[in-house]
């Protein structure tokens, strides 16, 4: 930390002040609590359409073919010799799916999906993994409520290893 702290005029303090509202466009991280999940909602059906149009080319028609990462299936494989780690079989938090798809997918146009579209495609992927029923609809509250099959499958090494 700085050797001596003293009160300085704002002009002398590096950087500029900003308010949380002005950070909104960047403040896209969603923790397991779901804090920060946006308005809007999307259905499994909407997600299916969107997935076929914008995701299937890389992740496969059913989410199991690739060439990019498998998103569906692999249940019961984690203790096998060839575990298949997917959103369904491996990911501990559904919030991570919303967070990641919104920030990074589709690969060549990240940020192009509306929030309701992100809810929809997340719903569809959870449905393909047997976590949500066919007629489900996701919004901030229902996403927060999802419990992932492998939620208990993670152990935090930190801080115990330090």
């Amino acid at each position: 930390t700085l050797a001596i702290l003293s009160n300085k005029a704002e002009a002398d303090v590096p950087g500029r002040l900003i308010s949380e509202s002005e950070i909104a466009a960047w403040d896209i991280s969603i923790p397991p609590s779901g804090a920060g999940l946006p308005e809007g909602s999307g259905s499994v059906a909407d997600g299916a359409e969107l997935y076929a149009a914008q995701c299937a080319f890389c992740h496969g028609a059913t989410g199991t073919e690739g060439p990019a990462d498998r998103l569906v299936g692999g249940f019961g494989s984690l203790t096998s010799d060839a575990p298949t780690k997917t959103l369904g079989s491996f990911w501990p938090h559904a919030t991570t799916a919303f967070d990641y798809i919104r920030r990074a997918m589709p690969f060549y146009a990240p940020g192009s999906l509306k929030d309701s579209e992100v809810y929809a495609v997340t719903a569809y992927l959870l449905h393909l993994n047997g976590i949500l029923p066919e007629d489900a609809r996701l919004d901030a509250q229902s996403l927060r409520a999802v419990t992932m099959p492998n939620a208990a499958g993670f152990v935090a090494a930190y801080p115990s290893d330090n």
Partner: protein, 401 residues
């Protein structure tokens, strides 16, 4: 281990060399001075091997390139050959439009330009930076025949200069409820990771602006990146645009789906940050082979995320006997250390290995020891002893013992 010193020669002998000729470059003036120099065209083969991870059109720019360790010496990695790991390619950032915002559990959020940071108190730390997936090829069931850099080259070391992250947090004021941060890049993946505040407060975390004297290269996070000495590379967020103080880990894709370590029981360990004690012999190594029996210099690199390297042992007989290598210069904490040892090769097949020990007493494990707790496909934090087999022909291969 047959080690011996390079010897003086006693008797004057018969000349074996042709008369020295004057080459053409001594007979006419050479190239003029230039604004920014480049390597010799004769070193054009010294490149980072590039490995895309997805078929073309389905993830271009997601992949790695390796530091060609077997072509380098000393401990600094030149900026042009420092390994890369990108999840969505290298953003072409205009530094005058880039900003770093710090917000969340703070007294007052602030935004910083790189010029703001350049004018602040700067510190310099010379440390390595290693991808958690380094050496992953040695996690595969069969030993891959690749160069030392193509196996172990997801590591580089540099003199980083920038702002201590703790100083920046002082400027925004830390809310006592904050225990972690979320760090996020401005790349298309907005790659994001959770970092405990303990690495920052009274820790060595920094926002780096300069690498080996000059501003960061684009592939290293220009105009600013995190440097977390000794910790895994993917946390050291490049193109850093945002730090959010939070009350727990955000559980991002790259700390759950990826970069977690699967145990045999199917459960995965998260938040293993520190890179283990490790070493690799870079000379000889595949492609850098002895050409005849006789004296050679074994040269390699050792490092530990926990601190200083205190010892490197070398074996030429597959681990039956070991000799202490010479550590070159000061072994600095969380920095590459060069080790060297003369090696008198009889011409018989040999198995070369190096084993590092750090100041915490941690000793580099064998591949079997390293593997013990992990699922078969787990490949992160591979710090096992590398075994190079030297055939009677001199050919060097990657083998498992």
């Amino acid at each position: 281990l047959g080690v011996a010193a390079f010897g003086g020669v006693a008797a004057a002998g018969k000349s074996l060399a042709a008369p020295l000729a004057v080459p053409e470059w001594s007979e006419v003036p050479g190239l003029p001075m230039s604004g920014y120099g480049q390597p010799s065209p004769f070193e054009a083969h010294v490149q980072r091997p590039v490995l895309g991870l997805y078929p073309e059109g389905t993830g271009d720019g997601a992949g790695v390139s390796f530091t060609p360790l077997e072509h380098l010496e000393g401990t600094i990695t030149p900026n042009g050959l420092f390994f890369e790991r990108h999840h969505s390619g290298i953003p072409e950032i205009d530094p005058t439009r880039h900003e770093l915002v710090i917000h969340g559990l703070v007294r007052q959020p602030r935004v910083f330009t790189s010029e703001d940071l350049v004018g602040m108190p700067l510190i310099t730390q010379t440390v390595f930076l290693e991808c958690a997936g380094n050496s992953l090829f040695n996690s595969l069931a069969e030993p891959q025949q690749r160069s030392a850099g193509e196996i172990h080259g997801l590591i580089g070391a540099a003199e980083w200069t920038g702002v201590r992250l703790a100083d920046l947090l002082d400027l925004v004021g830390i809310d006592p409820r904050a225990t972690w941060i979320l760090a996020e890049g401005a790349d298309a993946a907005k790659q994001s990771r959770s970092i405990p505040l303990s690495k920052i407060i009274d820790g060595d975390a920094m926002v780096a602006l300069y690498q080996n004297g000059e501003r960061l290269r684009p592939e290293q996070g220009y105009p600013m990146r995190l440097v977390l000495p000794g910790w895994q590379g993917s946390m050291q967020t490049k193109w850093l645009r945002r730090i959010k103080l939070v009350d727990g880990p955000t559980q991002t894709k790259d700390e759950t789906s990826k970069y977690s370590l699967s145990q045999k029981d199917g459960r995965a360990q998260q938040f293993i940050f520190e890179m283990g004690v490790k070493s690799v012999i870079t000379r000889p190594s595949p492609g850098i082979a002895p050409t005849r029996p006789g004296l050679y210099q074994i040269s390699g690199l050792a490092w530990s995320g926990a601190g200083r390297i205190v010892r490197v042992q070398v074996s030429a007989d597959g681990g039956t006997s070991w000799a202490d290598a010479l550590l070159d210069g000061d072994a600095r904490p969380k920095m590459l250390t060069r080790f060297r040892l003369p090696w008198d090769w009889s011409g018989e097949p040999a198995l070369l290995m190096s084993r590092a020990t750090d100041e915490m007493g941690a000793v580099q494990p064998t591949r079997m020891e390293w593997y013990a707790p992990w699922a078969p496909e787990q490949l992160y934090h591979q710090n096992a002893i590398q075994v190079w087999s030297v055939a009677a022909t001199g050919e060097v291969q990657n083998v498992y013992l």
